[in-house]
């Protein structure tokens, strides 16, 4: 293998002994880890009319059973701390350990959501300052921190769009979305009660502005866009795009998934966007948690501020407090006030980096993506000619045409070579797409290692494609039968 040291490694090979059943395989009737204080008050069971007859089949295990079982499972999992994880659109950057330490402070972790405002002044100030920073970063007037993830942020934005239009004549039914958009965009649009109207891409992989011009009309509530788009390309005609939508009275929504590309260089607000969501678990490196949690704050321009979810943090003479007196608000989007523990980590990231650090993050994210794109270009050309920003979409189509090997096979082979592969088959507009987002926290040597592995896979595809089709062979399990999983549903013990 060429190109520098390997940073990641596959999960360990399964020996005969490494196979593990579920935690139930360790269960022994009568064993138990938990203990409670002696009940020193009178026993008062719930009335028998309400009681449970049988017992749920929970495991009966000791602490050491739990510790070994879940430690073992963790070792069967590849994380960022294991190695390179260039999932496109996910911004899998290093998750600072310091943020974990901070979020675990009892002052943050051990506070109840319904404590009086006076007892959580520290957190409220953190939220208030974070909101100000997010507004500065995006060029918005105010923001809500309530949405617990990007998709909920989208819903929040779209419901505000809906409420705004209801106050301004109403009757708008359509939301425009480029064909390269992430699946959550159309899903959110539908759940918000709008119809999805697709906007085609042009030969550059950008919004086809002429097509857009034909699509905009007074039925259009708005347009959702990420910029740079999911191809990693900056929408160069962004001003024209936002003007077109504004021209028919629509609002423009910025999907912040790709904010890592532009921090300190340009701001959605300055491009004409009205609503912006941010994925803290992307841009601000809050851990992805194996699938979540995240947080999806949403910023808006001045005129949308009345519609923000209830409550918002307000600063008063006596300190900070929740403002719940918001008659035009779209209401609550989360049972409490969002993923506070995630937002505290985001605050740590934003203020530790500062204006200078955030700007540099975007520069180096772009540098890494462009460098890696250049290294792999011969085997896996980028799908569109433009210079990518923080991520690029390459295609395995030439390789497939020549060898029959697909992007998925390449991905699986990368696993054997020690890497988590990139996103594949997204965005849908690119055949055999490989969407690679290295992020700024990866070293040159890691990028070269990954490029080397991709090159090796391409060579093998040409020489002996079965090596790729058989892959992976070094993992605890090999390729899994997904069709069977969906047909013979086994979703629990």
């Amino acid at each position: 293998m060429t190109g520098g040291p390997v940073t990641g490694a596959p999960i360990r090979t399964q020996g005969a002994e490494a196979s593990t059943g579920t935690i139930m395989s360790r269960s022994v009737p009568g064993r138990r880890a938990s203990s409670f204080a002696r009940l020193e008050v009178p026993s008062a069971p719930v009335p028998t009319a309400f009681t449970r007859a049988g017992s749920p089949r929970l495991p009966e295990v000791s602490e050491i059973d739990l510790v070994r079982h879940y430690t073992g499972l963790s070792q069967r999992n590849y994380g960022l701390d294991t190695g390179f994880y260039p999932l496109g659109s996910c911004t899998m950057k290093y998750n600072p350990k310091v943020a974990e330490e901070i979020a675990a402070l009892p002052g943050f972790r051990r506070t109840h959501p319904l404590q009086p405002d006076g007892t959580v002044q520290g957190t409220l100030e953190v939220l208030w300052r974070l909101e100000r920073a997010l507004c500065a970063l995006t060029g918005m007037a105010r923001a809500t921190l309530q949405p617990p993830a990007g998709a909920c942020g989208e819903m929040t934005g779209l419901l505000m769009m809906r409420a705004y239009h209801a106050d301004h004549g109403g009757g708008r039914t359509k939301v425009l979305i480029p064909d390269s958009a992430h699946g959550t965009n159309p899903a959110s649009v539908r759940l918000a009660g709008f119809d999805v109207v697709g906007v085609p891409s042009d030969a550059r992989g950008l919004v086809d502005v002429e097509a857009l011009a034909k699509l905009v009309d007074d039925q259009v509530a708005g347009l959702m866009l990420t910029n740079p788009n999911t191809l990693g390309l900056f929408e160069e005609e962004i001003e024209r795009i936002t003007e077109l939508v504004h021209g028919v009275g629509g609002l423009v929504y910025y999907d912040g998934a790709n904010l890592n590309a532009i921090m300190g260089h340009c701001r959605p607000g300055d491009m004409g966007f009205d609503i912006v969501h941010i994925n803290t678990h992307k841009t601000f490196a809050t851990p992805h948690g194996g699938g979540g949690p995240g947080a999806g704050p949403v910023g808006v321009v001045e005129r949308l501020e009345p519609y923000l979810p209830t409550p918002v943090v307000a600063r008063t003479d006596t300190g900070f407090g929740w403002d719940r007196d918001r008659p035009r608000s779209i209401g609550k989007l989360h049972g409490y006030n969002g993923n506070i523990g995630v937002l505290v980590r985001a605050y740590a990231y934003v203020f530790a980096h500062g204006a200078d650090g955030l700007k540099s993050v975007s520069e180096l994210a772009s540098l890494n993506a462009n460098y890696l794109a250049a290294l792999v270009r011969d085997d896996f050309p980028t799908a569109f000619p433009g210079r990518p920003m923080h991520e690029f979409v390459a295609t395995a189509k030439p390789l497939k045409d020549r060898t029959g090997v697909r992007a998925m096979d390449v991905a699986k082979r990368l696993i054997d070579l020690g890497y988590h592969p990139s996103t594949v088959y997204f965005p849908l507009v690119v055949e055999e797409a490989m969407m690679v987002e290295p992020t700024e926290t990866e070293t040159k040597a890691t990028l070269e290692g990954y490029a080397g592995a991709l090159h090796q896979a391409a060579e093998e595809a040409r020489a002996d494609p079965d090596v790729l089709r058989r892959a992976p062979v070094t993992t605890p399990v090999r390729r899994l039968d997904e069709a069977r999983a969906a047909r013979q549903l086994k979703l629990r013990w």
Partner: protein, 437 residues
């Protein structure tokens, strides 16, 4: 502070490899008009020790629950979290990974989620669970969304459902186009346009509901029965599946997750197998690999936004997996007998607390004839908010103010953590606060 590893030399080399002369050039595609000409209005970066000092200073301005003895609930509870939960859930292979798109590299997460789904099914007496939703309130939104459709757009919600959940449901309803009506009593009027009946048991006042009556009405009217449950009650209370629920949802925070001032929490949802294709979010299934070795994958993905786009059941993508891991470990720690003892401890300690508090002159149970589990509503001689503030001064988080008809009551929650001496001290402080200024 900056985590990018680049040295000046490397930047030069990399730029030259891509044929650029400066980092700035990488931003040339951005039209000049929209390029930011000034620094962001955020202070410059600081070191790790400074950010820690800053946030520690903020954190100590809060009065946390190591300091205030907690009798607050309202859906989020101060149950004990054994140390092993986060010692394990906090392993970085878990928390630094993402959605298991490459199952061969993610058997750890996938198996834990399979176990989580199994545990939620066992708890609820239902047949299928997913791999987590955002929180209890949004789980209810998803459950209602599963029920709404084909001419059934009215949603009947018992007045015992937490108003925060109802508010959240109402917000989403504006987009999803269902109509929400709150009803009193246990016999909702279920007409053919009703999609579902939503009941909380224990309800927001801690009271045990005659769930079978609500759900009998629902089923008679052809509507789905949705129960909001408390996972900590299910060692002692009959499970939703047995009570007739078609879908059950809950706030899963109490299962090993910190209070975190409201999040990250854990939305639980379980349903009957008939509804599996209407379920939102990730679902893990067991299968085999090419050699026949059992393994786990995300399954039924055709329901989801990344495949089905605007026709998806839900828009959820990032979920609360890490909280589900914690819940799985926590439930393993409890075990069936621990879950039962927990329930018994909660109900016993709550009963004791209710007795002590209502022995204070002027303090009565707001719903005196109703059985409760671990939380109960008190009618106080003074405004509950003022009382809460007065008790903060005395070292207690006394509870949560809650509307009941047109008055405001105090919800008091008592978990297995609250000792007799804490309860006695709380009652004394309450008495003191009520006579005091």
């Amino acid at each position: 502070m900056n985590f990018a590893p680049h040295t000046e030399d490397e930047i030069v080399e990399m730029l030259s490899a891509i044929g650029a002369t400066s980092l700035d050039e990488l931003f040339d595609q951005i039209p000049v008009d929209v390029r930011l000409q000034k620094p962001l209005d955020i202070a410059d970066g600081i070191s790790e020790m400074e950010i820690v000092a800053d946030l520690r200073a903020h954190s100590v301005k809060n009065r946390d629950l190591d300091e205030l003895i907690c009798f607050a609930g309202g859906g989020a509870y101060d149950h004990y979290i054994p140390s092993l939960v986060w010692a394990l859930a906090g392993r970085s292979e878990f928390y630094t990974s993402y959605t298991p798109y490459q199952p061969e590299l993610s058997q750890g997460i996938l198996q834990v989620l399979f176990e989580f789904q199994s545990l939620i099914c066992e708890l609820t007496g239902l047949e299928v669970s997913n791999a987590s939703l955002y929180d209890g309130a949004t789980a209810l939104v998803e459950a209602v969304h599963m029920a709404v459709g084909a001419g059934r757009t009215r949603v009947l919600v018992s007045d015992g459902v937490d108003p925060r959940m109802v508010d959240t449901l109402r917000s989403y309803g504006r987009g999803e186009g269902f109509r929400l009506e709150v009803y009193a009593g246990s016999h909702p009027d279920v007409t053919p346009d009703v999609a579902c009946v939503v009941v909380a048991h224990p309800n927001v006042y801690g009271v045990l509901e005659p769930v079978r009556e609500h759900f009998g009405a629902a089923h008679d009217g052809g509507a789905r029965a949705i129960q909001v449950f408390d996972p900590m009650s299910l060692g002692v209370l009959a499970p939703p599946g047995e009570l007739g629920a078609d879908i059950a949802v809950a706030e899963g925070q109490p299962l090993g997750n910190f209070l975190n001032y409201g999040g990250p929490y854990l939305g639980l949802i379980a349903a009957r197998m008939d509804d599996v294709r209407r379920m939102p979010g990730r679902i893990v299934g067991e299968t085999v690999d090419v050699e026949g070795t059992p393994g786990y994958v995300l399954t039924l993905q055709a329901r989801e936004q990344h495949i089905r786009r605007e026709k998806a059941n839900s828009n959820i993508c990032t979920n609360q997996t890490l909280m589900a891991i914690a819940a799985t470990i926590y439930l393993g720690w409890l075990g069936p007998s621990g879950l039962q003892e927990l329930g018994h401890q909660c109900s016993s300690r709550a009963a004791y607390a209710a007795a002590q508090l209502t022995s204070i002159p002027g303090v009565t149970l707001a719903l005196p004839d109703k059985p409760f589990f671990k939380e109960f509503a008190l009618r106080l001689p003074r405004d509950p908010r003022g009382v809460i503030d007065a008790l903060v001064e005395r070292g207690f988080l006394a509870g949560v103010p809650m509307a009941l008809s047109d008055e405001e009551v105090l919800l008091v929650a008592v978990t297995e953590r609250r000792t007799r001496s804490e309860i006695d001290a709380f009652a004394a402080a309450m008495q003191d606060a009520l006579v005091g200024p």
